[in-house]
């Protein structure tokens, strides 16, 4: 029903192998850029910084495409780059392992259009605040699991840790969120 040609994810593998690095960046931009920016926003809570991090990842992808030659591997590479880039950006911001920046009046959770609306955000405020207070690794595990809907193995890959660590970060993160989630409407 939708008019656009297939843009998201998997063209046939032999086609993918024939892509130049430029083709790969174009195709993977179309398929994943927005999703990765949103992921980075959840990790960083800063839209311009999130776009920078994701753009860095695509530039890096272009450089490494000759070695990847596979859309799934490329997506894994992009995710890992975004998680690492977000960590670096947080460090640069002077917050080593915990995002506790004082809130400015305009520092509301990102909402741009009518798609979800401010009302929904109000409803979720407690939960989002609690997510933001999590230590970085726990927040990564939680965001990749419950926003990215990734498997443990994929999360481990993106975070550069073992599956066991993912499990422990995620369960500690969920435990910390439990109270606000129980109170959520």
């Amino acid at each position: 029903m939708l008019a656009e040609p297939a843009r998201d994810a998997g063209p046939a593998r032999d086609v993918v192998r024939d892509w130049s690095a430029d083709d790969a960046v174009t195709a993977l931009f179309s398929a994943h850029y927005r999703g990765l920016v949103r992921l980075a926003v959840l990790l960083l809570h800063d839209e311009p910084a999130a776009e920078d991090v994701v753009q860095d990842a695509y530039v890096g992808l272009h450089r490494r495409w000759w070695r990847l030659r596979d859309a799934d591997k490329a997506l894994g590479y992009l995710r890992t780059s975004v998680v690492n880039g977000a960590r670096s950006a947080l460090r640069r911001r002077g917050v080593a392992d915990r995002f506790v920046a004082a809130r400015r009046p305009d520092d509301e959770p990102t909402v741009a259009s009518a798609e979800s609306g401010a009302l929904a955000l109000l409803r979720h405020r407690e939960v989002l605040e609690a997510v933001r207070r999590l230590p970085a690794r726990q927040r990564e595990a939680i965001v990749l699991r419950y926003y990215g809907e990734l498997s443990e193995a994929e999360i481990a890959d993106a975070m550069g840790v073992s599956k066991g660590s993912v499990k422990s970060h995620a369960s500690r993160g969920m435990a910390a969120l439990r109270e606000s989630l129980e109170q959520a409407p």
């Binding site: 029903m1 939708l2 008019a3 656009e4 297939a6 998201d8 994810a9 998997g10 063209p11 046939a12 130049s20 430029d22 083709d23 960046v25 174009t26 931009f29 179309s30 398929a31 927005r34 999703g35 920016v37 949103r38 992921l39 926003v41 959840l42 839209e47 999130a50 776009e51 753009q55 695509y58 530039v59 272009h62 450089r63 000759w66 859309a71 959770p109 990102t110 741009a112 259009s113 009518a114 798609e115 979800s116 609306g117 401010a118 009302l119 929904a120 955000l121 409803r123 979720h124 939960v127 989002l128 419950y146 926003y147 809907e149 969920m174 969120l177 439990r178 989630l181 129980e182 959520a184």
Partner: protein, 343 residues
Amino acid sequence: MRMSPEDRLRAALRAQVDTVEVAPDALPTIRGRVEARRRGGGWAVLTAAAAVAAVIALAVAVFVPDRVPPSGTPQDRRPVAPATTGLARPTPPPSVPASTGGPVTVQLPVYYARNDRLVREFHDLPLTADDDTHRIAAAIGEALRHGSAADPDYLTLWPDSVTVRGVTIDGRIVAVDLADVGPGPRSGTPALAVQQLVSTVAAAATYTSVKRIDGVRITVDGAAVPKLWNAVDTSRPVRQLPPSEIYAPVWVIDPQQGQRVGRTFTVHLAGIVHEGTVNLRIRASGGTAVLEQVVQLSVGAPAVGEARVPLTLGPGRYVIEAYYVSVADGSVQGVDDHDFTVG
């Protein structure tokens, strides 16, 4: 129905970022950085002129559309300047950068009607100049053009004769000047036809610096019209009606029609249905159902709920169907279906 803590967490995270827009010039920016690195003499396998030409040839803005139906009237709008009568003169287009020569193709959302409800497609639309007004005007032109929908079941409610004379942006009000609107809509109610236009403008505006509109001021031949087709109050800017009144109840957002996905992919559904309960079915090319399950959306009617369902399927062609079962009589309602290919 009380959601699980995990689903509440999912809903919260999505609510925070589902509206995040990306910079319109992101892809050109990435290409520029790649090109700068090439010129910098580092990794130089692709420094051939052909590769440079390929970058230029591919320099068309690509946008990944928002995939969730709008969920309602935003609550935090700031007051806007009082509306003026008729069309305001165009202000300089705000911050969407103009293309650097040559036609630009931008993918924009376009609304149509099916079974007296609005549905959406994304169309690649050529623009002579890439700015806010051209984007919105292109989306409107497409929505109103008979036969422009990709799905044969979708149609515009506007008569063949209608044309768009101009679009101007005045704060959060978009003024649309039409001509030859005829005596009434092609089909459906006049109110829904106007909402088709308003929804298209509102959706297209999210791809501009306007982001969020407060209403659409409709004029005909440059003049204010108190009641379009003697039926719809157009004496003031028309606002979008609540989604539950105008949108189709179930949407398959991903995979899209004709899409090719990897073996492991995520189905993205949205809908405005009772208790957020939607049925998902995937059929193989022979028609055999390979998956049937009930999916719980993040929230029930009248809000727009969402769900993402990770799936793994073998290579082949499939049809994905989403629908809801009528509480009243158990009948299947609101089917949305897309063909897609795995592998």
